[in-house]
């Protein structure tokens, strides 16, 4: 065990700049990964809020009567993804408007006593938390084709934005992860190259393949650990500086921080599986 620590630290020390570069790149990956998780958590919170609201609102023409409107509701309910459909009459819409405008609500609705401008609507709650944007557009087009329909509004922009952000962040995290593995791999290969004479002598006096390999793997794991720890600390600092100014986002919970740490260690471990066989095969 002592040998393992001794050799790993000696390797890291001899690695110099490349070891530092490995730690820096893992730090950067973990920082970006943490940002992704933080934004992911925030988006999930937003999606939960969206769930409470109808995803699609179908406004019904004033010419369509209440019984006809309720019949239309049963028709819509049969559509795939429509988890629940609520009929909101013109009167209910007016009440809703009154509530929405708070203290001015009463004044507003009094003015509409004779002619209620609020249309009746169908509030559609969809089965999927977030429908793919193209499916949502398809559904909206389908709804607009009904003769009873005046207009349709939906959460397309929000869902599209969330999808795009998630894709970009995932792509970025993937790229950074790949770069980390390559840099750590390079660091281990360089260590094996610099120590090739020592490795050769060790082999000639009876060292096994794994006796040489294990400290190099430990080196990768250690670089991963230090990198992810530094990454988490850097991200926490950035969070404390910037986030309270723009949002009320909560910091990443401890269980997720543990997973980030394990992720960083895994990146180091993956990088340590460097092709060093040619230096060891003596």
């Amino acid at each position: 065990m002592w040998y393992l620590f001794e050799e790993s630290f000696s390797n890291i020390r001899h690695g110099g700049f490349v070891s530092l570069l490995s730690v820096m790149i893992i730090t950067l990956t973990v920082t970006i990964g943490s940002a992704l998780i933080l934004i992911g958590n925030y988006l999930r919170g937003q999606i939960e809020d969206l769930k409470e609201e109808p995803a699609i609102i179908v406004y019904i023409k004033d010419s369509v009567g209440e019984s006809e409107g309720r019949e239309f509701r049963s028709q819509i309910e049969k559509i795939e993804w429509a988890a629940a459909v609520t009929y909101v009459s013109k009167e209910q819409a007016l009440e809703k408007g009154e509530r929405m405008f708070g203290e001015f609500g009463k004044t507003l609705t009094d003015g509409f006593a004779d002619s209620n401008p609020f249309p009746a609507s169908l509030d559609i709650y969809i089965t999927e938390t977030l429908l793919p944007p193209e499916k949502l557009s398809q559904l909206v087009t389908q709804l607009k084709s009904f003769p009873q329909v005046e207009d349709v509004t939906h959460e397309q922009d929000t869902s599209e934005f969330i999808h795009k952000v998630e894709t970009v962040l995932l792509g970025l995290a993937g790229l950074m992860g790949g770069a980390s593995v390559i840099i750590v791999c390079f660091s281990i290969m360089l260590t094996a190259y610099f120590r090739r004479e020592e490795i050769r002598v060790m082999r000639l006096v009876g060292a096994t393949y794994w006796y040489i390999r294990v400290p190099l793997i430990a080196q990768g794991v250690f670089l991963g650990f230090i990198g992810s720890l530094t990454g988490i600390l850097s991200f926490y600092t950035l969070y404390r500086i910037f986030v309270p100014r723009v949002s009320d986002m909560q910091f990443i919970p401890f269980d997720q921080l543990g997973l980030i740490l394990i992720g960083g260690v895994l990146l180091g471990l993956l990088g340590s599986i460097a092709p060093i066989r040619r230096y060891v095969n003596v």
Binding site: Y3, E197, E198, R200, V201, M202, R203, L204, V205, G206, A207, T208, Y209, Y211, N281, V282
Partner: protein
Amino acid sequence: MPRPPIAINNFEVILIEMIQVYNVSMSYKEDIEVLHEINFEVKKGEFVFLVGTSGAGKTTILRLLYRELVPTSGHIVLAGQNLSQISRSQIPYLRRRMGVIFQDFKLLPNKSVQENVALAMKVTGTKRPQIRQQVDQLLHQMSLVHRKDALPEDISGGEQQRVAIARAMANDPVVLLADEPTGNLDPKLSLEIMHLFESFNFRGTTVMVATHDLSLVQQLGKRVIRIEDGRTVED
């Protein structure tokens, strides 16, 4: 043509032959043959000189014996193990039973004298107190106690040679292979080194020394295997 015996592992006590080389040929490239059908046997506890001019093939024979190279054809049996048949993972265990003194010593420049000697034991997983005890004993035997913390570059050629010998003897090997161990030493020091080998041999270690120093060989009066142009010309 003699046939190689069946390899017998872990029955060293009944072995009479420690090294058996059967029709061994070796080519580094297809058209350049370095060794041509070499045959010899070395008995357990024997002291043998492998002599020949530079480039005769002495170093290649030693490299084949510690399995750094594999012969193009033929068989080598060492301490009951057929070296052509052992797997890559078995090689370290074979080498732990041998002591090798390389022509260029192969000492690690960034490790002290005692660390270099300890290396051979460290790689076998020997416990620290045992390593310390054995290293102290070897350094004392080689008169290197006062140099134990020095780096190889800070000691003389003769001292470096003795460090290499101490490292080779650290695991109490059954076979000691030395490649030109007196290459850069004066005759007096060379003889001292040979007497050291004799003392190891007296304690039961089979010793094979590759050298081109014929005067030294004559002084000791041991068995000689002469190699010329990759062939055995005298045994």
